[in-house]
């Protein structure tokens, strides 16, 4: 940069104008522990003169304290940001670095090689154009090299650099390099990478990073920086059909109604016909409004506000699209899914799906197969654990617009959010829509739930008893049903043990089967509610998520969660079926409270204290509670009855 010093201010202004026009390349580095990723990034920052004097001073100080390369500067310390990982000497989270050359500006996602943090690599890859995959010349291709290449491919990365690092420790050997490249090509042939550039380098000494150096005259390809500066990453997003997910309806006053969003693909101009993907309503573009004035056209990647010539109903989550090439609209799709949480994925469990700007409840209906990320073979699975990848079917609570991820990243990518913890637990890529949803239409029925209920003089409701085994659920539910029956109310009881003899006899007690067990019971209870009945459900139902699912299947006031609150020691002391004894002896696996968790309700409609009241008293409390809320029609059926 010393040339800068000779520029006067006007020449410098021209220099700046040139540099404003640089393009941007986002890439990630990945490899196994000790392949030298951090060292490579430190070297890039150092060689492109992005280090300042005080950072160098701090680096020299830290090198003496934590460094692993003797008296030399340890470049890895520059990028290993967090205290904990400096102590452990490993990178445990994605870090972003920035550098620039005269041709391009770069954002680097430094992603960890440590096995349990693979989810971070997917995170880094999701926003990258290119992957630099490091291997150590001494060890060649490792399991993790295969895994990282697979994930890069899964996330749609089309450009790969194979950085054969520490070539100095392999005597700068051409044979070693050629052997590693051949081995890599053999397994990565099907990954669909558009460009593949192997480079032998030494991050520690700088060979083939920025400068070529004297040690490998046999290598005639580009250096790493030369390649990064020139690789053509253009995906031609603007040549694809127009898509814009609406983020925010812009309505400053009654005269202006605009739709703000980032254009995912294609181009748009005033006068263009556009369609709302889901509703099929159409209009034409009136103007492309920005703070800097209306635009004659806007394309992929631009954040704009579009106004239309017709008043049509559009809200956040809708996708504006070209009329002749529309996204799919369905409430079911097949997708690749990466699981990112310690808590496993269970088919049937309700989650939230965020795709584009749309947030909808949804669930995995089926795991088609898992993919072993090391061997790429397909495996059967009932659940998905942290860092596992699978092909699954999703069902959503409403139809949404989407594209296959391989065609449109922005309208084909989604995240999965846990409804209780709010954590981001999965990342998905849509493969294709499933047509079943559009072929099964609701049959309209003339006799409605309301008319059936009115004939019975009651409001249909599910009384959902949850609690530990032996807490008293079935006993109390039975007493409540007897009282209701004697009052001429129409009831039905779904009992956990009884249902497992029939409808659910194919299910066991694993967490995945428990989720499916409750899903079926919840759906069955809903059918009885539609029939106008008061339904008593007596199930341990240990997970909040599934009770929430049941609640959401029903309308407001149709789900009454009754927590039969009996402490574990009391239930175990009662042990009416001798099950606790067997569980303690290890004869029953996955026993709730002993070897499987029970998640107590946070806001149940009723909590029953079985240590303070008898089952009869508690049954009376429930009937009185229902009467007070007019489940038996207006006015108390008991007159001055009280408990």
């Amino acid at each position: 940069m010393s040339a800068l010093e000779s520029l006067d201010v006007s020449a410098f202004t021209e220099y700046l104008a040139r540099h404003e026009k640089k393009s941007l390349l986002r890439f990630l580095t990945c490899g196994s522990v000790d392949d030298g990723k951090s060292t490579l990034i430190g070297r890039l920052l150092y060689d492109t003169k992005l280090l300042f004097e005080d950072q160098l001073a701090s680096l020299e100080k830290d090198s003496k304290k934590h460094g692993t390369v003797g008296e030399d500067i340890d470049f890895a310390l520059l990028v290993d940001g967090l205290e904990a990982e400096r102590e452990q000497g490993i990178t445990i989270d994605v870090a972003y670095r920035f550098f620039a050359t005269d041709k391009r500006k770069f954002i680097v996602a430094d992603t960890p090689g440590h096995e349990q943090y693979t989810r971070n690599m997917a995170t880094g890859a999701s926003n990258s154009d290119l992957a630099v995959i490091l291997v150590d010349s001494r060890y060649g291709i490792l399991t993790q090299t295969r895994r990282h290449s697979f994930i890069a491919s899964l996330l749609g990365i089309r450009h790969v650099v194979l950085a054969v690092n520490k070539i100095d420790l392999a005597g700068y050997s051409e044979d070693v390099f050629n052997r590693i490249v051949a081995e890599y090509k053999a397994f990565a042939a099907d990954f669909g990478f558009h460009t593949f550039q192997p480079i032998p380098l030494s991050a520690r000494f700088g060979d083939n990073v920025l400068e070529r150096g004297p040690n490998m005259p046999w290598y005639t390809g580009p250096t790493l920086v030369e390649h990064l500066e020139t690789v053509d990453i253009e995906q031609d997003l603007v040549a694809k059909p127009f898509r814009m997910p609406v983020q925010w309806v812009n309505r400053p006053n009654l005269d202006f109604r605009g739709f703000s969003g980032t254009i995912a693909s294609g181009l748009v101009r005033p006068g263009d016909a556009v369609v709302v993907a889901k509703s099929g309503r159409s209009s034409t573009v009136k103007a492309i409004v920005t703070h800097n004035g209306d635009l004659p056209e806007a394309g992929a990647g631009e954040a704009v506000t579009i106004t239309l010539n017709d008043e049509i109903d559009i809200s956040r989550g809708d996708v504006l699209t070209a009329p002749d090439n529309r996204p799919e609209v369905s409430d079911q799709f097949a997708a690749h899914l990466i699981w990112m949480a310690d808590e496993p994925l269970y088919p049937g469990r309700p989650y939230l799906i965020k795709l584009g700007t749309k947030l909808v409840p949804g669930q995995v209906t089926e795991i088609k197969h898992k993919i072993d990320v090391n061997t790429f073979s397909e495996l059967a699975a009932k659940t998905l654990a942290l860092n596992e990848v699978a092909v699954v079917n999703f069902a959503l609570s409403e139809a949404i617009a989407f594209d296959p991820y391989c065609e449109h990243h922005d309208t084909g990518a989604f995240i999965v959010i846990d409804r209780i913890s709010n954590l981001t637990v999965g990342a998905g890529m849509v493969d294709f829509g499933l047509r079943r949803a559009s072929n099964i239409h609701w049959q309209a029925l003339d006799v409605t739930k309301e008319s059936r209920a009115a004939a019975k003089q009651q409001k249909p409701v599910v009384l959902w008893f949850t609690g530990l085994s032996g807490s008293g659920k079935s006993t109390i539910a039975n007493l409540v049903e007897r009282r209701l029956h004697s009052l001429d109310r129409h009831t039905f009881t779904l009992d956990g043990d009884n249902v497992r003899h029939g409808l659910n006899k194919d299910l066991g007690f694993s967490d995945a089967d428990r989720v499916e067990n409750i899903r079926r019971v919840a759906e069955t209870a809903k059918l009885f509610v539609d029939a106008g009945l008061i339904v008593l459900v007596s199930f341990i139902s240990p997970f909040r998520s599934e009770r929430q699912l049941a609640r959401e299947l029903l309308e407001d006031g149709e789900f009454v969660e009754i927590f039969v609150n009996t402490p574990l020691d009391v239930a175990e002391a009662r042990d009416p079926k001798g099950l606790y004894k067997k569980a303690r002896e290890g004869k029953i696996q996955n026993f709730t409270g002993i070897s499987s968790p029970y998640e107590a309700p946070e806001n149940p409609e009723l909590t029953l204290d079985t240590t303070a009241y008898t089952s009869e008293e508690l049954a009376d409390q429930i009937v009185a509670w229902l009467d007070k809320r007019e489940y038996f029609g207006a006015g108390s059926i008991f007159g001055d009855y009280s408990i």
């Binding site: 940069m1 800068l4 010093e5 520029l7 201010v9 410098f12 700046l16 540099h19 404003e20 026009k21 640089k22 393009s23 941007l24 300042f52 005080d54 950072q55 100080k61 830290d62 940001g81 967090l82 205290e83 904990a84 445990i92 989270d93 870090a95 670095r97 920035f98 620039a100 500006k105 997917a122 999701s126 926003n127 053509d232 603007v238 983020q247 925010w248 400053p252 202006f256 605009g258 703000s260 969003g261 980032t262 409004v289 703070h291 394309g299 990647g301 631009e302 954040a303 990112m340 795709l355 700007t357 947030l359 990243h409 922005d410 990518a413 995240i415 959010i417 709010n422 981001t424 990342a427």
Partner: protein, 304 residues
């Protein structure tokens, strides 16, 4: 019409990304706020915010945590900016700190920063019940910031747990929080200091005049130049106040922000000087210097 290859420059891409983030927050949170620190990064963030919602006004207020030790020119710039743009501005000062006269000279930078910045910020966020707060921090500023998410989850006590951050993929930000919990949002995460200056130049964004060189009264202390902004600054015997041609690369509280000697009085001169500089931006900030992990500690406690 042929489509050119690099349609968007890196600044256009950064601008679009930031606007997208800012709009997501407005659309998904109930009660967001923008932390406005008056510096150049805040000026850029505010400019992007005006763009994001145009022709509407931003649907959230600005908030400034006033330590009472900001440069006077910063405060007048703050008030003029809010007025010029017609925005709601909330100003909060920690009443306990004010009562006890907590200041950087007698209490040291660590206690002072904790009481007047971190605690004050937490008080204000809790009092207003904000579920999202924008900050102008960039990943290139400091090592622990390089791992920060764009949507950074904070517990109900405003704590940051670097090991328990949500994965963040594509442009899909998870804004789900329980009551009391919040998200700090950093729309400038991917900007560098040079990007900020180039964008200010390109878009003609107003910034506090302290960034431009001028003769100002300073004392030299521990090898750093501190500006004497008001009479509260204690002057030790042996120290002399002298007028020097100085400017600031970064702005904070005047006793904690060192000036540099510089003749750069225009934006191109500032950018040129920055490119030639061999000292990084935050070295003018005295609070980072205790040890190299001190920012991480402050962030865990709830500092931005």
């Amino acid at each position: 019409m042929p489509v050119s290859k690099d349609r968007l420059t890196h600044l256009k891409r950064l601008e679009a990304e930031s606007i997208h983030i800012i709009r997501e927050v407005a659309a998904e949170f109930k009660n967001p706020v923008m932390l406005y620190s008056i510096g150049k990064d805040s000026s850029v963030m505010l400019h992007l915010t005006m763009k994001a919602f145009y022709p509407s006004k931003p649907p959230f207020p600005l908030m400034h945590v006033d330590t009472t030790w900001k440069f006077r020119e910063m405060i007048s710039f703050r008030d003029e900016t809010a007025k010029r743009l017609g925005l709601d501005l909330i100003v909060h000062t920690n009443p306990d700190g004010k009562r006890d006269n907590i200041n950087p000279f007698t209490h040291g930078s660590s206690v002072y920063t904790n009481v007047m910045k971190t605690e004050a910020l937490k008080q204000a966020l809790t009092a207003h019940g904000f579920d999202a707060a924008f900050g102008g921090a960039r990943r290139d500023e400091e090592k622990s910031r390089a791992k920060e998410r764009i949507f950074s989850f904070r517990t109900a006590t405003h704590a940051w747990d670097p090991k328990n951050q949500r994965p963040e993929l594509w442009k899909l930000y998870n804004s789900r929080v329980r009551p009391g919990e919040s998200i700090r949002v950093f729309p400038l995460s991917n900007w560098t200091e040079l990007d900020i200056w180039q964008y200010i130049l390109l878009e003609n964004i107003p910034i506090v005049p302290l960034y431009f060189a001028k003769e100002r009264p300073v004392v030299e202390r521990n090898g750093q130049l501190l500006m004497v902004d008001d009479e509260r600054m204690p002057i030790a015997s042996g120290e002399t106040i002298e007028n020097r041609l100085i400017r600031f690369r970064t702005l904070g509280c005047y006793p904690l922000t060192a000036a540099i000697e510089s003749p750069a009085a225009t934006l191109p001169e500032i950018v040129r000087e920055m490119l030639l500089a061999r000292t990084s931006e935050r070295s003018g900030r005295l609070i980072d210097h205790d040890d190299s992990a001190s920012m991480e500690k402050k962030k865990k406690e709830g500092y931005f």
